[in-house]
């Protein structure tokens, strides 16, 4: 890995936008896949952070979220870890099914999986690693 960045964020959703912009600036050397970074990575990271703060940490202001970013010439990888008890990502239904389309929630995990080349949860379910590759196959 060429460039590493570690952030410890307060469990405050108003911090997400600034944190994402900060990480995006850290990735600014990845001009070869700028559009995929700007859409796929930006939205994927936003989803991971909001999941961690709202569901993982249960909106508890005493808890924190750790963000670890590794940037190389071939990929950007980010691990987002909360201090919650974890969850089973397989339990989230497909939000694009007709019965789920009019529900207001349930699209975060779907967008992460669709927009990133790799999404891996740890066994406990409180840490997710997102990878976007220069020559990846994810949408866009």
């Amino acid at each position: 890995m060429d460039k590493a960045l570690v952030l410890e964020l307060p469990n405050d959703i108003s911090s997400i936008e600034h944190a994402v912009e900060y990480v995006m600036r850290h990735c600014s050397s990845c001009t070869d896949y700028a559009r995929r970074l700007n859409l796929n990575f930006r939205v994927g990271l936003t989803e991971a952070l909001s999941n961690a703060m709202l569901y993982g940490n249960g909106s508890d202001p005493e808890k924190r979220v750790r963000v670890e970013v590794d940037v190389s010439v071939e990929e950007v990888a980010v691990r987002v870890t909360d201090q919650g008890v974890g969850f089973d990502p397989a339990s989230i239904p497909d939000p694009t099914l007709p019965d789920n389309l009019t529900k207001s929630g349930g699209r975060g995990i779907f967008l992460m999986k669709t927009l990133m080349d790799e999404v891996q949860f740890n066994d406990r379910g409180n840490s997710v690693t997102l990878v976007l590759r220069l020559k990846g196959e994810a949408t866009v």
């Binding site: 959703i13 108003s14 911090s15 997400i16 936008e17 559009r35 700007n38 859409l39 930006r42 939205v43 936003t46 989803e47 909001s50 709202l54 939000p95 694009t96 389309l101 009019t102 529900k103 207001s104 929630g105 349930g106 699209r107 975060g108 779907f110 967008l111 669709t114 927009l115 949408t139 866009v140």
Partner: protein, 110 residues
């Protein structure tokens, strides 16, 4: 980031400047519901100045659309850039909303 609310004839137009994400979705919801409670029934959310939307932003649009339809009103979306349109297509929400290319087209016939 901010939401600018204006009125064009009998249509409330909300311009989304910046992002529509988890951190500000409640602000948009409150602004639209306030106008709905005052009796407004026609809404256009204009994204010509919008950077990106996350799942929470998409969710609040779905929720508002339902509430407006329950009051026999209509919510239309306008001026989605290529990235935003991709998000609507991936989530199939492009099938749920009337999406116009421009603010003016959204206002036509509403």
């Amino acid at each position: 980031m901010a939401f600018q609310v204006s009125k064009s004839n009998d249509v409330m137009v909300i311009d989304v400047e910046g992002q529509l994400i988890v951190g500000n979705r409640q602000e948009l919801k409150q602004k639209v519901l306030y106008e709905l409670e005052k009796g407004e029934r026609k809404f256009v959310v204009n994204f010509s100045e919008t950077g990106y939307i996350d799942s929470s932003g998409l969710g609040v649009l779905v929720s508002l659309s339902k509430k407006i339809r329950e009051q026999e009103g209509e919510l239309r979306l306008a001026s989605l850039n290529e990235d935003l349109r991709t998000l609507f297509e991936l989530t199939k929400l492009d099938t749920l909303f009337t999406i116009a290319d421009t603010r003016e087209q959204a206002l036509e016939g509403l």
